[in-house]
């Protein structure tokens, strides 16, 4: 449990790709600050944004909603958005809400960058 961990740990730039490392529990408590932090990844005009979920232990619908907002924004800007390294618990909420077919979800960061 890590409810007080800032959700965005780092934004790494690999060429024109912004890799956003998230951590902790992405719930109602974290999602409001997460939205502003995620939008920062678009400031430098990336061609692609990869959300690295390896250190996210839990996500609820408010976290999913935040990612849906980011998806909407990236589509308008013509930026590719990928979700990488999500664990089974996080994947389950995307499956329950049928959003696993809306987002591009990949197993590894290398796959996202390929």
């Amino acid at each position: 449990m890590s409810g007080h961990t800032p959700p965005v740990q780092d934004i790494r730039w690999i060429g024109a790709t912004a890799v956003v490392d998230l951590a902790g529990d992405i719930d109602l408590n974290a999602s409001s600050s997460l939205q502003q932090q995620l939008l920062r990844s678009l400031d430098r005009g990336p061609e692609r944004v990869v959300i690295n979920l390896a250190r996210v232990g839990y996500m609820d619908s408010s976290g999913v909603a935040t990612l849906v907002k980011l998806l909407s924004r990236t589509r308008k800007l013509g930026v590719e958005l990928l979700l990488a390294r999500m664990n089974d618990r996080v994947r389950s909420i995307f499956e329950i809400t049928r959003l696993d077919s809306v987002f591009r979800i990949v197993a590894t960061e290398e796959e996202a960058l390929g």
Partner: protein
């Protein structure tokens, strides 16, 4: 260790999002004690979390100092089935139960997913006005291996 029949576990938490991780821990532990596997416990935990989030947002309009009563119990039915029953009770603004429904998932947009998640993960979801104000939400889930114990 298992949960005994007829001995509810009750707690009251504040409507503060910072308390949600603690409630999730408790729900997951209670589910494990009731006999759910990790995946089943996670789905129940997710349902309770979504219900708590809805109470904080809608019944209490984000006020972080209001009470939410949580009660866990094991119910045995006549057919031998045993269910985990979770009751969440708030004292806030009531919503017409007929208006509490899932939205069309084909419409990809933020928000409105909580009720769908709760209904997808639980066997039974019942909203009703609570005596003295507020709403009581009762969630039920059959315990694996105890769906039909008697012939």
């Amino acid at each position: 260790m298992t949960l005994p029949l007829g001995k509810p576990i009750r707690l009251t938490v504040l409507s503060d999002p910072a308390h949600l991780p603690l409630v999730r821990c408790m729900v997951e532990r209670v589910c494990e004690m009731a006999g759910f596997d990790a995946a089943g416990a996670h789905r129940i935990m997710l349902s309770v979390d979504e219900a708590m989030t809805n109470i904080i947002r809608h019944a209490y309009d984000g006020d972080t100092h209001q009470p939410i009563d949580v009660e866990f119990s094991i119910e045995a039915h006549d057919d031998g089935c045993e269910c985990l029953r979770i009751r969440l009770r708030d004292y806030g603004r009531r919503e017409d139960p007929a208006r509490i429904r899932s939205r069309d998932l084909q419409d990809v947009r933020p928000g409105g997913l909580g009720v769908h998640i709760i209904k997808e993960c639980m066997d039974s979801v019942q909203y009703e006005p609570a005596e003295g104000g507020g709403t009581a939400l009762t969630l039920m889930k059959s315990i694996p291996g105890k769906e039909q114990m008697t012939s």
